[in-house]
């Protein structure tokens, strides 16, 4: 006999469906509370604030998490890269903006390279401790460069058209930034889940030793993951700066936790080997819907952070708890059947 309660865990084991259901519930809940302000159209506009920069950061973080590592220096990398961009551009007095952007991306990759080298060189240290150190280092360098000043006066296409621009698609005003982020997802998904190169990351994260013996250069894989993560962090800093219009060394403080939260919510595990690009996208949408709704209802940033914590516990724990319950029931049923015979 199959009971309904037995079916629930199997359904909820698909993280994507759980996230999808939560998105619908979240939207409906806030839509009822704030029917005029919390609409799909307005939410779409708010993706600029809650989705884009964290999204780019989470894409890089996903790769590192799949390897079973973690990088908490990403927000600092974003700040340092953006600082390099702002300082070299020097409000139009310095280098051409295109070159400043390239330098910014290079800075991100270099920061990632340093992280990666430290991680593969000092295997006895946890990546969390290493990146905790580099986090202060990168933000410290940004502070030495800029001190307490801010750098800004970027070209209009950057601070206006990219940061606040909208494209009309089928009558909907879609932020330019969001389109940039969404363009990356299919490519990233295909690469990570459907190519040999992508599968190497999962293999390395699932079993490092076995992967090494099957001919995967696990150190190279790790190094490349941290470098890509640095690149994505720099891109996140780029989009964040396009919104703020100026850079300060404090920019993006705390974003690393949001990026980790999104990746974990989307199905990545800190012990490695797991992760999904589709799940990550859904987790991003869910957090955007939730944070924006809470911002409208409570107008308080503390509640926003609290909600992310609660949601993480909810989504990560519930499938586990249901799974445990299911196992317990199966065992009890088998015992009862054994007793009958």
């Amino acid at each position: 006999m199959v009971r309904f309660t037995d079916k629930i865990p199997a359904f909820f084991k698909r993280r994507e469906w759980l996230l999808f259901g939560l998105i619908v519930l979240t939207f409906l809940f806030f839509n009822v509370q704030e029917p005029n302000n919390y609409t799909l159209v307005k939410l779409l506009n708010q993706t600029r604030v809650y989705m884009v920069d964290v999204g780019f950061m989470a894409l890089g973080m996903l790769l590192v998490l799949i390897l079973g590592d973690i990088d908490i220096s990403v927000a600092a990398i974003a700040a340092l890269s953006a600082t390099v961009m702002g300082v070299t551009y020097k409000a139009g007095q310095g280098l051409p903006f295109g070159i400043s952007i390239v330098l910014m991306l290079v800075t991100g990759v270099l920061c990632g390279l340093v992280n990666g080298l430290l991680v593969i060189r000092f295997k006895e240290l946890f990546p969390m401790i290493i990146t905790l150190a580099t986090q202060t280092l990168y933000r410290g360098i940004a502070y030495i460069i800029l001190k307490d000043q801010s750098a800004g006066s970027f070209p209009t296409w950057f601070s206006k058209d990219l940061g606040y621009g909208l494209v009309n698609i089928f009558g909907l005003d879609v932020p330019v930034m969001l389109l940039c982020l969404l363009a990356v997802f299919p490519l990233y998904h295909l690469w990570l889940h459907h190519t040999v190169s992508g599968h190497r990351y999962f293999a390395t994260g699932t079993n490092l030793t076995a992967s090494r013996f099957s001919g995967i250069h696990t150190d190279k894989i790790k190094l490349s993951a941290f470098m890509l993560n640095g690149l994505f962090a720099a891109i996140a800093g780029f989009f964040l700066t396009s919104r703020t219009g100026s850079v300060k060394y404090t920019i993006g403080t705390g974003f690393e936790m949001q990026a980790i939260a999104v990746a974990v919510l989307g199905g990545a595990s800190t012990s490695g080997g797991k992760g999904s690009v589709v799940g990550l996208l859904l987790a991003l949408v869910l957090l955007t819907a939730l944070k924006n709704g809470l911002m409208l209802l409570y107008n308080d940033a503390f509640i926003l952070n609290l909600s992310v914590g609660l949601l993480l516990i909810l989504v990560v724990l519930i499938p586990n708890l249901l799974g445990m319950l299911n196992k317990y029931r199966t065992v009890r049923r088998q015992r009862l059947e054994l007793a009958k015979t």
Partner: protein, 335 residues
């Protein structure tokens, strides 16, 4: 019977019409300040509250906990989403909020900056607490008097992106050019970012780096309070003179024991009150923010809009008041 019925129906329709007109949505102002939990801005909000009771508008208020630019942008985006009629902001970064406020103005939202202004391109009007030159001058005069017109002084400011403090410091430097201050040397300007711990550390740093330091000006309520504590903790009370812009409720003890002989501030409640009246006048269309326009600012009387010299316009609220150990008891419970 029919006539009575039709009369009743007509009366009901009229009543319905009257109700519909009466139920017109009230004006909403979205207030943004530099940081949440800062008593100066809590007093400012009391000014908005007072004005809202007199004028019958509603307002929502918020500031980022970390006094960041991106935190303010997040709040402003939320206000735009809620279709507020006006945004009244004290900006953490005069340039950093211009783009987002321009999108607000494109949607017909009026933008008034108060306390710390937004660049002219991102605002309709600025509400300045007092003549910036005066604010700079009185603090230099005070510290010079206290140290006997001779020796090293330093400035402990808020954030380097805060436009109000930057303007006052520029005027302080201008004032220091005068011959009577020839023997006074301004050694440095440091920034505590309006965070108590950072301001405290910066003050300690000043004491350690400049052993001959005679006086400190801190033109920010968070900074001057943290500086007073740091001076006391390091046993420099009386040896290093302190003045600046402080909140009476926070500075009462430091004024009473002489760590700070005198400091200045205008009434933050009046500042919020004036910003509220300016926002409402702008939403109602009484003013557009052009030079020469006048509007009624409630109990503060009439205010005239003037050229701010940065491409935008501003109004003035009041004058800085000098607080000392003698008069502080009258004020410490007010704000």
């Amino acid at each position: 019977m029919k006539r009575i019925l039709s009369l009743i129906l007509a009366a009901m329709m009229l009543l319905g019409l009257a109700l519909a007109v009466g139920a017109e949505e009230p004006i909403t102002i979205g207030v943004v300040y530099k940081q949440s939990g800062n008593p100066f801005f809590e007093a400012g909000v009391r000014g908005f509250d007072e004005a809202s009771k007199e004028l019958g508008f509603t307002f929502i208020h918020n500031g980022p906990a970390d006094s960041s630019n991106e935190g303010q942008i997040q709040i402003i985006e939320g206000y735009i989403q809620q279709e507020v009629d006006a945004i009244a902001i004290s900006a953490n970064d005069a340039a950093g909020v211009v783009s987002v406020l321009q999108t607000a103005m494109d949607k017909g939202i009026k933008v008034v900056s108060w306390d710390s202004k937004v660049e002219a391109a991102g605002r309709n009007l600025n509400v300045d607490p007092s003549v910036a030159q005066n604010i700079g001058r009185v603090q230099v005069e005070e510290i010079a008097k206290q140290i006997g017109y001779e020796g090293q002084i330093a400035i402990l400011s808020a954030a380097a992106t805060h436009d109000n403090q930057n303007t006052w410091i520029a005027y302080m430097k201008e004032e220091l050019e005068k011959p009577e201050y020839d023997k006074i040397e301004l050694v440095t300007v440091v920034y505590g970012d309006d965070l108590t711990d950072k301001s405290y550390q910066e003050m300690q740093g000043l004491i350690n780096s400049y052993p001959d330091l005679k006086g400190v000006i801190s033109p920010t309520t968070v900074g001057v309070a943290a500086a007073a504590v740091a001076i006391k903790d390091m046993g420099m009370s009386g040896k290093i003179k302190l003045t600046g812009l402080g909140l009476p409720s926070e500075m009462a003890d430091h004024l009473a024991d002489g760590t700070c002989e005198a400091m200045f501030l205008w009434n933050p409640i009046d500042l919020g009150y004036a910003a509220a009246y300016a926002s409402i006048a702008m939403v109602k269309g009484d003013i557009t923010g052009a030079v020469g326009e006048k509007f009624d600012a409630g109990r503060l009387g009439e205010r005239e809009i003037m050229d701010a010299g940065d491409g935008g316009t501003f109004i003035l609220v009041g004058d800085p008041f000098r607080f000392t150990g003698e008069n502080i008891d009258d004020w410490k419970n007010v704000y």
